[in-house]
Symmetry: C2
């Protein structure tokens, strides 16, 4: 059995790109950082605040998210929303994910055939 | 629409960890680098030789693959095979992938609900 650190490094690598896709899908309904963190976790995409906040700023800079300050409540909060470009990217990533999933299923089927 | 370079960077990130899993699954049946490159491509996991060869050496160093020289043919070739540790890691990654896929399906379903 490989050691835990090695497994965790490889799992991390497998998950890395999925947080971007999950954010773009979730933020079709605008939300602020902390609430998004919670929605990601409940959705099965656990991520650290220290990873998420810089990611949100990067995605905004890339034009994939837009943001607005909500000042109606006592504490102003920055709400992020998926932009049209972000929506288009999410579609491309989602398609790619489905293709990869189909490829893995084919590999599984062959593995069973050859057992 | 985001520009092609941005899309391709995000697709790359989404795919990165999948090549490791694909190699571990495919190399349950031993093969040499060049043939693996071809099996990966036909399997839907296109990857560059310049990416794959260092990756194979890294996975061997991590004990996830073993290798043997086949000297029966005119040109000796190094055959890689998934080790027991590699098999265990592949199981862990496969489980994680399935969970992430289920999470994306749930997100999709919610997206449809709220449309």
């Amino acid at each position: 059995m490989p050691d835990d650190e090695l497994i965790s490094a490889h799992l991390q690598e497998l998950r890395r790109g999925t947080v971007v896709l999950a954010c773009l899908l979730i933020l079709e309904r605008p939300d602020y950082g902390y609430a998004l963190l919670d929605r990601l976790e409940r959705g099965g995409f656990a991520v650290d605040a220290n990873t998420l906040y810089p990611l949100l700023r990067r995605l905004e800079k890339q034009g994939l998210l837009t943001s607005d300050w909500n000042t109606e409540e006592s504490r102003p909060r920055k709400f992020y929303r998926t932009s049209d470009a972000g929506h288009a990217l999410a579609d491309a990533l989602r398609r790619d994910w489905r293709q990869l999933d189909a490829s893995f299923k084919t590999l599984d089927a062959h593995a069973i055939d050859s057992e």
